[in-house]
């Protein structure tokens, strides 16, 4: 790690002011991606601003049919809140026990790793991201590989999830990292079915062709007939584009089977 100046702040206002006055600052939430990144010298900020002491970013509230999760809530805490079981299951499958005790939802979505689990939950559930100065719909939040709609210095404060009629998340995890090689979040809302796919492409996306067939007939078998265009999917030593395409179908079937 290169050297940097560490700051602990007690409010988002203080964090933003510091961010603006620093040469190149980063926010530290759970640190499960940031600290390994700094150790590998892939990033070398002058200032690290720790959001850990800001109390009002913590916690889970259930209000009028939706669940609001503070951005600094760790995966372990989401995993034991059964209000939206699919969300709890997803959080309980991230990384490992120690990582879930540190890693946070805000950190995960602000980073927008193409293989992260949370982006699929946000998109599948039609969540809203709250920041220190606005609300952003999940549909407009995840832009591309590690890219989000957040402005420089903007801070995620919470995420609100509408409670679905039924939902499930199934992933094919990389056996070492537990990141999703492909993960599919299927949810039925009053407004229709949403199917969000992570791990397959450069950024989480909705599988609209699959949504259409499931809308007519919510059974695992119908997914089989939908062709998945894998030409822009990721390809690496763990899985080829074709295999990821196959996994989109397979993980969707398993998710549907869980709740059909």
């Amino acid at each position: 790690m290169y050297s940097f100046k560490y700051h602990s702040v007690s409010s988002t206002e203080e964090a933003c002011t510091l961010f603006e006055s620093s040469e190149s600052a980063v926010y530290l939430s759970g640190g499960m991606t940031l600290i390994p990144t700094l150790k590998q010298r892939l990033d070398y900020p002058t200032d690290v601003i720790d959001l850990g002491a800001i109390d009002d970013l913590q916690g889970i509230d259930t209000e009028n049919g939706s669940v609001r999760v503070g951005s600094r809530t760790c995966h372990a805490d989401v995993a034991c809140n059964p209000h939206i079981q699919a969300l709890a299951d997803l959080a309980g499958g991230i990384g490992d026990l120690q990582v879930r005790n540190c890693g946070t939802i805000g950190g995960s979505i602000a980073n927008n790793d193409p293989a992260a689990d949370y982006p699929a939950a946000l998109l599948g559930l039609g969540a809203t991201v709250h920041t220190n100065n606005r609300d952003i719909r999940a549909d407009e939040f995840f832009l591309d590989l590690f890219e989000t709609a957040l402005h420089t210095g903007e801070i995620v404060t919470a995420v609100s999830f509408p409670t679905p009629l039924r939902a499930a998340y199934v992933k094919f995890p990389n056996p070492a990292s537990r990141y999703a090689i492909v993960g599919v979040f299927v949810a039925e809302h009053n407004t229709g079915i949403r199917v969000a796919v992570t791990g397959a492409g450069s950024c989480v996306f909705r599988a609209t062709a699959i949504e259409e067939v499931l809308q007519r007939d919510f059974r695992p078998a119908v997914v089989e007939g939908v062709s998945v265009d894998h030409s822009k999917f990721n390809s690496d030593i763990h899985a080829s584009q074709e295999f990821r395409g196959h996994l989109v179908t397979e993980m969707t079937k398993r998710a549907v089977a869980k709740i059909a």
Binding site: Y2, Y6, D96, Q98, V99
Partner: protein
């Protein structure tokens, strides 16, 4: 430099360390508590696991400054050679270690699992809970046995 006040195994410490100091380095280098091991230094193997404010964390991936005002338990804080913690004793009795490198981290994680469980853990749940701890010697079978034995003892007290 950043000023840090922490309680480690019940003893308070105030020290000043470079801002980019890792918690694992603070424990090992500054406090000379070398029972917390560094296996990978990349947040994978879990041998550096300690309890920070009641939760198991990988100390190689936490800044020492993040632990400011916090309370830490390391393997040194559990028992003594003549009076082992029940999880330590179960590891010995079940031959759950060979070289012993992974053991401090395994034990710290196992303790959190047992403490948090509302129902007795199954062998599968123990395996899932230990996903972030690697052992290159034992093949895990005896580690799972040890955690099962330890929970039986801890839940009965």
């Amino acid at each position: 430099m950043v000023d840090i006040t922490i309680t480690v195994n019940g003893t308070g410490h105030s020290l000043s360390v470079p801002d980019n100091t890792l918690l694992s380095d603070l424990l090992r280098e500054n406090l000379r508590l070398t029972g917390t091991h560094i296996g990978c230094d990349t947040s994978q193997c879990g041998s550096c696991t300690v309890e920070l404010n009641g939760r198991a964390v990988k100390s190689c991936t936490v800044l020492a400054a993040q632990a400011n005002n916090g309370s830490i338990t390391t393997i040194e804080g559990l028992g003594t050679p003549n009076d082992l913690h029940p999880v330590q004793a179960a590891f010995r009795d079940n031959h759950a270690l060979q070289c012993g490198f992974c053991t401090p981290g395994m034990i710290m994680t196992a303790i959190e699992m047992i403490k948090d469980a509302t129902e007795p853990l199954s062998a599968d749940q123990i395996r899932a809970g230990l996903e972030g701890n690697y052992c290159r010697c034992t093949g895990y079978q005896n580690i799972v046995k040890a955690v099962l034995a330890a929970q039986t003892q801890l839940r009965s007290v």
